[in-house]
Symmetry: D4
Subunit: 255 residues, 8 copies
């Protein structure tokens, strides 16, 4: 082993700066690396699109890691099982219609699939605003370093452009709220009471363009639509990510 510390540092710095610079112009910017964002990233990248996942935290996976109340298991209903199989996530039958999978395995397999398909990941990166120009369409994201944001240091952000933006940020619906905070024409109804069956049924309807250039998926879709809350069942989440990828693909095809 012949190793030089400065070469290691340069390998990291230069490789990343090159990739980061290249990915400042995207086909699809997926904000949030939870279950629906990961599915969307994997499927959109499989179609050959230039995709990046912008994740606020150090790790992707969102609320999946902790399962339900820290018991690291997730439940997927019959309809979503097809996607578990697609990504090689093993599951066991608990009761007819209810499959249980490991939450850790689920994150790992979805992320690995997105990487294999060619999606890029920018973690520790927060979205704090959007770019909207004369056509009134979201055409980019204003991004900052999460640790800088956490410490409240006064540092300006950077900007990336995206033909389509996916808001896959869960309950918080971060992109939608960025638009609303600046008085963009959007109504965020907020999640309603829990009613798993209803929420899982309707999530696909709510997975749609919520503002020119922005598609909501996963819990963000339900939060914007005022839909019921789901709980620790993930079938609808996975299917919503799949649908978001299809809508984005359709929009890009028309450009």
């Amino acid at each position: 082993m012949k190793l030089d510390e400065v070469t290691i540092s340069r390998a990291i710095l230069q490789t990343h700066a090159e990739i980061f610079s290249r990915y400042l112009e995207l086909d699809i910017a997926i904000v949030g690396g939870g279950p629906s964002g990961l599915v969307c990233a994997a499927l959109a990248a499989e179609e050959g699109r230039k995709v990046a996942v912008i994740e606020k935290k150090l790790s992707v996976g969102g609320g999946m890691w902790g399962g339900g109340m820290t018991f690291p298991r997730i439940v997927v209903q019959e309809e979503g099982r097809r996607l578990l199989d697609h990504f090689g996530i093993r599951s066991t039958l608990f009761q007819p219609g209810y499959y249980v999978a490991s939450s850790v395995e689920s994150v790992a397999k979805l992320t690995a699939a997105a990487c294999d398909a060619g999606a890029e990941f920018f973690n520790l990166t927060s979205v704090e605003d959007v770019v909207i120009k004369g056509d009134g369409r979201v055409s980019g994201l204003v991004i900052t370093s999460t640790p800088v944001e956490m410490t409240g240091l006064h540092v300006d952000p950077l900007t990336l452009s995206a033909k389509v933006t996916i808001d896959a940020t869960g309950h918080d619906a971060v992109v939608a709220h960025c638009i609303k905070k600046k008085k963009g024409d959007i109504t965020i109804h907020g999640e309603s009471f829990m009613w798993a069956e209803r929420a899982e049924t309707n999530i696909l309807d709510h997975t749609r363009e919520i503002f020119p250039g922005v598609i909501a998926c996963g819990m963000a879709a339900n939060a914007v639509a005022g839909e019921a809350r789901m709980g620790a069942v993930f079938g609808g989440m996975l299917l919503s990510g799949e649908k978001a990828a299809q809508i984005a693909q359709d929009q890009l095809n028309k450009m």
Copy 2:
């Protein structure tokens, strides 16, 4: 979709309680889900051992997620490339002998491999002490819930037993420090200055039983031995995890 919230909750609770209870008796307890711990878990489980990774945080992956100084890339030297390939992690040549991989992909692929091999994961779980009985050997771990520990609430821990314990907790060498804090016969020299080449060369020697029943690997091995520091190069880490799995296997074969 026909769904009942209580059935979802029960599916999670009962499945996890059953698995947790079963895995309170382990062949190998791997403390720390960073790169060396994940490699060790994957390879030991491939050999058919009953293995669990005890991870303090919500997500596994340790220091790999952030790459170097938040640029999410890792460097692996020639010697370690074999293991990247084994786990399907793609890499590019930066300069002869230096390969660069995505840090996000690396975590995802190592974790997926450990899952596929049958390892279990207990995340949000902290080790705060060890069990040592008449034979002077570490035969179990005292574990607690990380959120409880973070909030300082006064709650008693639980205990699991393991025939072999792996300390894969990085710089902190948590298991070694638990032993030292209670005046067990162990010397922790602490990591020395950075000297990547030396550290990467010697880590395999330091991957060894550091106390009856406890094998150190990864940065914990170097920290206990007083070895030089490595920096953001991961070949030695991966190889150290591999060796720890071999030593554990040897010990178990002799029992």
Copy 3:
């Protein structure tokens, strides 16, 4: 003494998982383990109902422990003394109509009575939302681990079902606020100025169903109704708990 640590751990884990799973379907879910919640739990369980107290903190007892301004004594007026006697709480006459009891003894005796009557306790458990389905009635609670909530970790909750829910969470009226936050049809007037006599007189009127499936009692009842504040006198609180148990019993008898 022959003892094995793993058996101890399993005894705790399996016993609790079994009870927890069983009590995910309740007759009466009592949210808040303060004085009115404990009285309600004890009396409802004495009637044979399947009852659980969901308590946010590690310990039950609420505001009673600290008496008035940390002097650990509580005052109960003539009308409430009957319930002190029912639960075996000793009191001394301060002045005609005013009885003083130990705040510590009061908590202990009420809790012991609830246990003896068969009520279950889930402490360190926070209610963050309710389940409402097509009939518009609260039919369950979305619960999370308090330490997880305190640390802000991103972990999904679980859900339990209850035929009747009691909001016994004091000033905060937690269940009522969960409903209001999600735009349920409920008005919370908030506690008015202090006027002990009026508040103690009217609390029984305010102990009633405040939303389909939810009965408020104790200070939560007064807070929802906009009633005056009570101060450190507890007769009305105890009587309100008693009345809530009766209303719940009536509702269950009609189902």
Copy 4:
């Protein structure tokens, strides 16, 4: 209901001031209201001694409330079951020799028993020093208000006298550490590794006078003696509280 707020306030203030003033001179000061302290308080008060429990927190019960890792159940072995029965705590057999009880019920019943026997409770009260005069014996405690201590406000403490002091403060061994901090002649070995069987067997030997005027019981006894750690099994704790009451009684009889 005829009620006057000032009378309520005076009832609390005067009753407590009178009791507090009277209990500034004690036979036995029990520091710490966890399981061993509560058993000790109940049994010593049953013998007619003037006893007070000094508890730092708002609630007594110590580490029992949370059971093991927040599952609210405790395990008691065969030897300790006699005391569960004495205090009316219900338990179920998990496996021969292992009984499981509700942690909430255990706290409530022990506390209620101590109250019934005549012990007083001073909660939200912290011990920060001891009184030692010419005879070198601990003859009193320096106490402060816990909220004052938490906020770091500069306020002088008060003092109470006790013929015998019990250190029932768990791992922290607060009284022992007060003595050590001021260079009193005491050695605190600190708890050793977990080994439940050994710890439970030896705790009764360690329940003894550790400094003139101070008896350690419960985990404080093991912590001072350097004994192994116990885990979530409580038989030894209860028996240790019983023995501390007997030693205190013997010492008082000789005075």
Copy 5:
């Protein structure tokens, strides 16, 4: 020196409990021990009224201690100099009409005068609500221990009664806000921009009954009235305290 620690503790506890209990029924409750509150307390007590100052902090004096921007000097204009002299506070002429005094001396002399006149002080005591009964008049205060409030511990308050309440709590106008928070009929306009001359001229007009039973003085008077801000000049503050004492005296004479 023959001294017993318990006697010292009893002397403090019993003397204070006796005084505290006696002063739970007041002629005048002055909330806030800043300059106007101290002047009011001194002058009202000189008239023989039963007066207590309720001060949130450990020390009285409010904003006077720090002078202007931590330079410990205060300025008093010609009109207020009479009161400086009345209380024996030395001052020097800076420029015609502007006198400078030591901020530390000012606090000490005002406080000493209030004590000499017979006013009582309850420091570390926060007002969190008011008592209003059928006549719609504030007839008492709900008080709590400041350290308890700071730590957020769940402890009930006590109550005292007062024929007249003075809100001398500065910008915060605490009593007025307690009334407003509970929807009492009061408008708090909030302090306006700084304009010392105007504010000093008008403060006496604003020193008046702002709600039945409550007189505002000092900066609280200006804050309620929407008057301009004063800055570090104290003449109006002192005169406002004087006027509040006169109004209170008038009201009491009429009862």
Copy 6:
């Protein structure tokens, strides 16, 4: 009232800057404005010395404000009563030899007396180091702004000179610790257990020069000497302040 804001600001700024600049050279620097420091300041200034009290907090008075355990009363024994009378502090007899005074009045009267005698006060000022030159004697203090210190901002301190320094900083013995931290030849034994009688008797012996140029008084004297702790009795404190003033006077007379 004719008032100009800038003139008010200038009056404060210029008056204080002139006094501060003048008092950068002192006869006696008294660090700490608690009871012993205030007595010392009053008596030394009465003798015509140029004296300043350096107080870390916004208000002087130290631990006296809170009395014992927040009950605002202090006890003074027979021997110290003479000084209460000297400063006009009223007291009542609790039991032969024990006098009780108001803690608020005590602070106010001592401070007023020090002001009347001509002592200056620099509050919100922290001592972080001492000046020692070739003669090995403390000849000055390194002072900083307390808010700056609290916020951890990187700002350099200023320096004042004093012929004699009094360490009246209580338990913390701040000046002594500054000397020790920099390896000055001083031993700080730390306060011993509580034993009021012994501590009150010996405090006058311990009130002495503890390092060339530094006299300790009050609790700092006992803390340095390793004397017993006193509790909430203040006679010795006042007498110690008196003695420190006498020693300082003697030293200055010899210069």
Copy 7:
């Protein structure tokens, strides 16, 4: 080197007090020492005006230090290059129309120029209110010490007068918000979405008097006007500072 600590302290104290007192009456008060404020200060002082920059932090430079996302470089477009050259800040051409400069050099050179032109700096000084008298014009600022503000200590502010005030406080538009908070007649629209080109074009229009006596420049101008956000391009900022200096000069010339 012959040096005396007290002389050093006096040199600092007296020099600063003299300058501070003199600069309590200003021609132009510039609030905020970021890029536009520094340019404005330099150019206004070059015209001979009495100018002071009031900066909240310890250091001036605002958001320039961190460049974009902590990469310490700033971009200036063609139009602004003239000012870079004016202040001697070196830049390199990245692409036609885009110049890159060092963020550290930019701060240093702008600040040095302002100093050379005669502007004064009051750092660690926060503006918390404004002075408005009968003419309805802002004629002064209420200032406080930032560390005092950060620690929440209760200390009164001082006041300075200014013929013209510049709000150069960036997004926060601090002066504008002070006016609005006190119900002054001003509308703050808040920054809109990012659109660099538009924002850079319009900023000069928005650099204008926003309230009698107050001129907004830099991001504060855009924030008040509801203009688009700019990102890490600084040409408009510099030009805005230049224009604010011209408007101020015009206003002063007319007085």
Copy 8:
């Protein structure tokens, strides 16, 4: 103005990555951008060396910004005035031998000079360790992002190499402590008491190589040597920076 957000972002990212990568191999790494570090950087760069200043904070200037006790003025004695003049910093004579300058101007001019001479600045960058290889000489620094360090996120550092390292980190002597923490052969005596004259005289002697490859200057030099403390006089600091540049130059010339 024709502007594109992505081009602005790329200009910043690519320019900085190129400069950062190039400056990973330095002649001289100056850790700490306070007065001595800035002088050293300016003078060494003037000699044509490849120099970078590694600054932990967002802004350079260290303790100079706040002058003495937040009065933003610094004192420089006769000997140092030459360097003030060299960097164009204006000063006024306070008393023979004592010159006063603006602290803000001093930082700006020193920084501007270092930039003009060609030094690079890496701010928000913390040094957490050193590189030492077979020759026992410090040959590089382990650096991390300050915001990451502040948030405690688990992210690996990068490494840069330097032929000579300057420890200009003030009291903290960060580089020296990195070496000591890892048991390098270095003794850090720590600053002694304040004695400005002595400290200013001796600082040049202490400005020397303190470990192979590391030169200390400024307060770090005195801290390592155990020299007296200086206070707010800066002549020695500036001269020490000058000497450090000369020593570094000598060492480089010999390589």
